[in-house]
Subunit: 134 residues, 2 copies
């Protein structure tokens, strides 16, 4: 049901410093930059083959990423799996008894449809399902 | 220089419970299981397209993953990028001034050559380079 690792989400407190690392030192191409209102973040996607590193700087302390940073500091925030049918994937997770954060998909970066599973159901790994925009 | 996200490494304290989650509930195929002596872990690779989730249960408390679990509990441990030439990738990281854990590659799972960058150089994201066995 999952086609690939879509991205790894990384919480950062300084997007420009993180870009300097990933783009200029590690040599990943900057592909997209967007303020994602639904999640209260400014995000940059860096290209790694067909997948991405997603850098996330909160636009508000009260966002999920803002609270994560306050609690944990910068670091890996979530992993996202790409699916062609997020409704089916979410239904499968629900049927398997997994606790969900999002009962139905929300709008994520680049018009994708996304939903998060609850980390208490996934070994403390915040897990996102992503259906890209068509 | 990076061809894809090779895997996301997840620290677990119960490999069988984690397998039940990823294989039986999320529907990922179990592809490989190996005790990796160099790293003091029993590891399982689950298939996600051309990438993997790598579940890691320490075989000793004194391993890096054992210490991670004691400090942080279960969760995302590292992200690994695949490269066709780890010597070149490691040289590029060194030339960019990034602090390395491994000055030269070690032998990882399935005979791969792997090297870790220091998380202090990568925004607290433990970052692995992987050249698969040929």
């Amino acid at each position: 049901v999952f086609d690939r690792i879509d991205h790894v989400g990384v919480a950062v407190d300084d997007l420009d410093a993180a870009l300097e690392l990933y783009r200029d030192r590690l040599g990943m191409r900057e592909q997209h930059r967007e303020t994602v209102g639904e999640f209260g973040v400014e995000a940059v996607l860096l290209e790694v083959g067909e997948g991405h590193v997603e850098l996330l700087e909160p636009t508000s302390e009260d966002s999920a990423v803002g609270r994560f940073l306050a609690r944990n500091g910068p670091g890996m925030h979530h992993v996202a799996y790409q699916t062609a049918d997020i409704d089916a994937a979410l239904g499968q997770a629900r049927d398997a008894g997994l606790r969900l954060i999002d009962e139905s998909p929300r709008t994520g970066i680049r018009g994708s449809r996304v939903a998060f599973l609850h980390p208490q159901a996934t070994g403390s790994v915040l897990t996102e399902l992503v259906e890209p925009a068509h």
